[in-house]
């Protein structure tokens, strides 16, 4: 569907207000045209009489037409049965079938009467089905021109009759009937004008529109109830004067026609009216917005119904075209040669397409065009390079379908697309025998003349070699044949395999590379829409549009093992099964079910998935302070950054947030990072942790992003690719090599990183936290001297830190947080927290731990060391508490239900 249609300029006659009549006579000012628009070089006008009388007449006519058709068919049948009865009588009397000469006269007459009725019925059906006139055929040279020659009626009336077009004749009976209902609704309420809201209300009773709203998760009844609540439905005080169509309605009618024209449709249906109505009425747009439906969503759902119609048309065209192709792999001119050996080791994709066994390929027209251009351009073979699951094979199947339809360049016309099966080629054979088989196949293809070879996962074949230095391998054999240009090869491979195997082999020169990128969200939604019919039919559920949208969104964020649309397709299939098991057949799959399946698959909590956690986010500081003691500034800074991210106020092409945590050891830097992982991502396991002291030399960059032309990819890129919704913790960043810091400079800026195989890894759903001890001694000295924290931070940024980091690197952080050394008070709180954790462990064993204030005081004094933060405290608790408890447990002195008390002086007493 075209994204934006320019607002239509229409010319409305001020004398007759669009009706084309004044005092029951043709309006002289506008020549009876009423309302016009000059477009595509024609004068489009609307003339469809809407009066109280025509409303009644049209209603009666619809009933009358049905009765007339049924009666005529019945009369035809009765006549023939009657005639048949006379023949039966004749047969009973004479015991022979009548001949032309002896046939009873009444029978002949009845046969003729029946035939006449049938001819009349044929005429009626033809007349009733046909639109009065179709929407003009789309002309690429005549783009909408809404500004031209619309100044005056005198100019319009000079346009010859053959260039005038009554657009109402292209509206379907259903669309016209909706308009009539709208007129009736407005009339009953005594309105002066028929407004879009009445048209909308009338449209709701259409099945197609009803289904559209069900897909949006809101039944037409809910909308009707909302309209009633707002006072747009129900009887009013009828006026003596009948209503007339408002100017907004005329805009809607012309826009609906324009939409149908741009979509190359030959009729204007209720769906075009609906989108035009919502686009042209602020009131309607607001009502729908309050119900959670924005204009874009509505347009997408309408486009969905059009995709389904288009696919079924395509399928019909394909099966029609398939009937004219040979089922034995022969071209139509019989010039091809049979390929028995190849047939044994391959799969004929064009034949599959003929039988309707291929998958429909949508949203990949650009890629297919690119492939055709390469093929038309010269002798080059085509290699599709893309990740596993990106849809390379579906594109090939799309090409197979087009080959059957004949909608391809000349080099592919009337040819077979044959897929070589590597497993058949290699099974039970030594490498030498496999190469021999391949050569035999290639020879057959060269002779056949009508075979386009397709090799799926080319890299699977490339490893095969007869061994030894000067041995024969598949790559060179294949390259040798392809250089000859006797036949065309289409192949696919992954990005990684291309970088490692194809790029360095002879094959790279004979193939033109076409990159098949992962689909974007809109393309993926289109694919889901095209496949959903089968899933709905199989699982007996139906999908709301929102479910598809969320499935794509969640797959992009949480299910990164395979790219779109494969991952989203898998997700909606599972959501359909899940919904059926939970809600039963014929229920609606909404975003909630999709979310639930994501939770089951990934174990990310639903709040993190659905983002429905407003209240929790507002109290984020409190939540964090449960685990992190002190460090108010750090917590505050992090919390506001997370809130910005959740409200989508952040830049979408950067990581969610980048933080640098500075401060001495043991003050809670890592603990805060863990807390963020828990609060924001739903668990500590969603934290990817790198100890940057392990990456101190230049070569270690390859460990992070992989080394070109080597197997495998880097640990950083792979980790983020696999879990793109996570926290990336870079411990002790100052120890990493400068080149590695430059790498992160790019990540923090662009939100993406390219690995050694050329794959782009997305970092836009990552929170990056780097920790550093740089300048710790300086900070501690200054703090002891009582310098304010702000001043210390400022001096640190402009002095101490410059030794380690370049200013542009520091600039990339959303926040540089200076962690304060822990005070005695903070240590006391931490002691309380840690002792509570020990208590919880004991609770699991059925033992209660009582902690006295004296014990907390004692341990916090013992564990306090301003230089090492909270670390010594852990050691103290291990030695003084945990060791003693372990001894007591092992010696059996702590049975279940016993109570242990920690007393002043650290004494552990069993009560």
């Amino acid at each position: 569907m075209p994204e934006a249609i320019a607002p239509q300029k229409i010319l409305l006659c001020s004398d007759c207000l669009g009706s084309g009549k004044r005092n029951n006579r043709r309006c002289k000012s506008c020549g009876g045209l009423g309302v016009v628009q000059y477009n595509h070089g024609r004068v489009l006008f609307w003339r469809h009489e809407l009066t109280r009388f025509t409303l009644i007449y049209n209603r009666l006519k619809r009933i009358f037409d049905k009765i007339r058709l049924i009666s005529v068919v019945l009369l035809a049948l009765i006549s023939w049965f009657w005639g048949g009865f006379f023949i039966y009588q004749f047969f009973a009397a004479h015991n022979s079938i009548p001949t032309l000469g002896t046939i009873p006269e009444a029978t002949e007459l009845l046969f003729l009467v029946g035939l006449s009725f049938l001819c009349y019925a044929l005429y009626r059906v033809s007349v009733q089905r046909q639109l009065l006139s179709e929407v003009e055929h789309f002309d690429y040279d005549k783009q909408p021109n809404v500004d031209a020659r619309l100044e005056s009626w005198s100019e319009i009336l000079k346009v010859p009759y053959r260039q005038r077009r009554n657009i109402s004749e292209s509206f379907t009976a259903e669309a016209l009937s909706a308009l009539e209902t709208a007129y009736d609704l407005a009339d009953k309420r005594g309105e002066e004008e028929v407004k879009p809201i009445y048209l909308f209300n009338a449209l709701l009773s259409s099945n197609r529109i009803g289904n559209t709203f069900v897909r949006l998760g809101i039944g037409p009844k809910t909308i009707s109830a909302e309209l009633e609540r707002l006072g747009f439905v129900g009887q009013g005080k009828p006026s003596r004067e009948p209503p007339r169509l408002s100017e907004e309605i005329y805009h809607i009618l012309f826009e609906a026609y324009e939409t149908a024209y741009s979509l190359h449709q030959n009729y204007v249906s209720v769906t075009e009216l609906l989108t035009a109505a919502v686009a042209n009425s602020k009131q309607l747009d607001d009502i729908l917005f309050d119900l959670g439906i924005d204009h874009q969503k509505l347009k997408n759902v309408v486009a969905w119904t059009r995709i389904r119609e288009r696919l079924s048309r395509q399928y019909a065209a394909l099966s029609h075209a398939g009937r004219f192709r040979s089922k034995h792999g022969m071209d139509r001119a019989m010039t091809a040669v049979a390929t028995p050996f190849l047939n044994h080791l391959s799969d004929d994709l064009t034949r599959k397409a003929q039988s309707g066994l291929t998958e429909s390929c949508v949203a990949r027209d650009a890629e297919i065009e690119q492939i055709f251009q390469i093929i038309e351009g010269g002798q080059h073979n085509v290699l599709l390079v893309g990740e596993f699951g990106a849809g390379k094979r579906t594109i090939i199947e799309g090409i197979a379908e087009r080959m059957v339809e004949g909608d391809v360049p000349k080099r592919l016309f009337d040819k077979r697309l044959v897929q070589l099966s590597p497993s058949s080629l290699l099974s039970g054979a030594t490498p030498a025998a496999a190469i021999e088989r391949l050569v035999a196949c290639l020879n057959e293809i060269s002779r056949a003349g009508n075979v386009i070879l397709f090799i799926n996962n080319l890299h699977e074949l490339l490893g095969v070699s007869t061994g030894g230095d000067r041995s024969l391998d598949v790559a060179s054999t294949l390259a040798e044949y392809l250089v000859g240009g006797n036949f065309l090869v289409l192949a696919t491979t992954t990005i990684e395999a291309y970088a490692q195997e194809v790029n360095n082999s002879k094959l790279s020169s004979v193939f033109s590379r076409v990159d098949i990128k992962e689909m974007d969200s809109n393309q993926a939604i289109e694919v889901l829409e095209s496949k959903i019919g089968y899933i709905e039919y199989k699982e007996k559920v139906f999908f709301a549009y929102e479910a598809l949208e969320k499935a794509v969104d969640f797959s992009r964020r949480f299910l990164r093992d395979s790219p779109l649309p494969g991952s989203a397709l898998e997700l909606i299939t599972e959501a359909a099964v899940y919904t059926r098991s939970k809600k039963g057949a014929d229920s609606l799959v909404t975003s909630e079910e999709v979310g639930a399946v994501v939770v089951e698959k990934t174990h990310i909590p639903l709040t993190a998935v659905s983002g429905d956690e407003g209240a929790k986010l507002m109290n984020l500081e409190e939540e964090m302070h449960r685990r992190v003691i002190g460090q108010d500034e750090a917590v505050q800074l992090v919390a506001s950054a997370l809130r910005r991210a959740r409200a989508e106020m952040r830049s979408q092409s950067r990581p969610i947030a980048n933080f640098l945590f500075l401060g001495p050891t043991g003050v809670g830097k890592t603990e805060l990072a863990k807390t963020i992982a828990e609060v924001y991502f739903g668990g500590e396991q969603r934290m990817i942790r790198f100890d940057m002291s392990e990456y101190q030399d230049k070569n270690s960059i390859y460990r992070l992003i992989g080394e070109p032309a080597h197997k495998g990819t880097g640990i950083l890129t792979e980790a983020v690719r696999r879990s793109p919704f996570a926290l990336l913790l870079l411990d002790e960043i100052e120890k990493a090599d400068k080149d590695i810091l430059n790498l992160f400079l790019q990540v923090m800026d662009d939100g993406r990183l390219t690995d050694s195989t050329g794959r782009v890894v997305d970092f836009t759903n990552i929170i990056i936290i780097a920790t550093s001890n740089a300048g710790t001694s300086y900070v501690q000295e200054e703090m002891k001297a009582g310098t304010s924290q702000e001043l210390i931070k400022d001096r640190l940024l402009h002095g101490e830190l410059k030794q380690y980091f370049r200013p542009e690197f520091l600039n990339r952080f959303d926040g540089i947080v200076l962690f304060e050394p822990l005070t005695q008070e903070a240590i006391k709180k931490i002691t309380g927290l840690l002792l509570k954790r020990i208590g919880k462990d004991l609770e699991k064993k059925g033992i209660k731990l009582e902690i006295t204030d004296g014990a907390v005081d004692y341990f916090s004094r013992l564990g306090f060391d301003p230089d090492f933060g909270a670390r010594p405290l852990r050691r103290v608790l291990q030695e003084k508490v945990e060791n003693q408890l372990a001894d007591l447990l092992l010696s059996g002195k702590l049975p279940r239900h016993s109570v242990v008390r920690l007393e002043e002086g650290g004494e552990v007493k069993v009560v």
Binding site: I56, L60, R68, L112, F324, R332, A333, T335, V337
Partner: protein, 118 residues
């Protein structure tokens, strides 16, 4: 208003009966011609003597030796003759259907005349 509407419907229905033969020989005839032409096109696609004619000197089944070329040439000639003939029959059948459309009202009229007047 209902009575008026009903009256209009009845009058229109009567006019419709008289319009029916006019439609049959105007818009209806055009439709029937289109339908028959599509049927012919379908037959042409299936039998395709044109493709055989265009490739008359191209050897069949990749037999590029002179014997192959010779046999192919004669085979193609035979095919063109038979396919051409079949297409001709098909075309005649399509044309006959169209003629039936045109003469059907006349036949019915004559039948009525014969049965009722005779």
């Amino acid at each position: 208003m209902y009575a008026l509407a009903f009256q209009k419907l009845i009058i229109e229905a009567l006019v419709d009966i008289f319009y029916f033969p006019i439609w049959w020989y105007s818009f209806g005839a055009v439709k029937a011609a289109e339908w028959c032409f599509n049927l012919f096109k379908e037959g042409n696609l299936r039998l395709a003597p044109g493709i055989w004619l265009a490739n008359i000197f191209v050897p069949m089944f990749g037999q590029y030796d002179w014997q192959g070329r010779l046999v192919s040439f004669f085979m193609r000639v035979v095919q063109i003759i038979f396919r051409g003939a079949a297409l001709l029959v098909w075309t005649l059948a399509c044309f006959t259907l169209f003629v039936i459309w045109l003469i059907l009202p006349l036949v019915i009229g004559y039948g009525f005349y014969r049965s009722l007047i005779k």
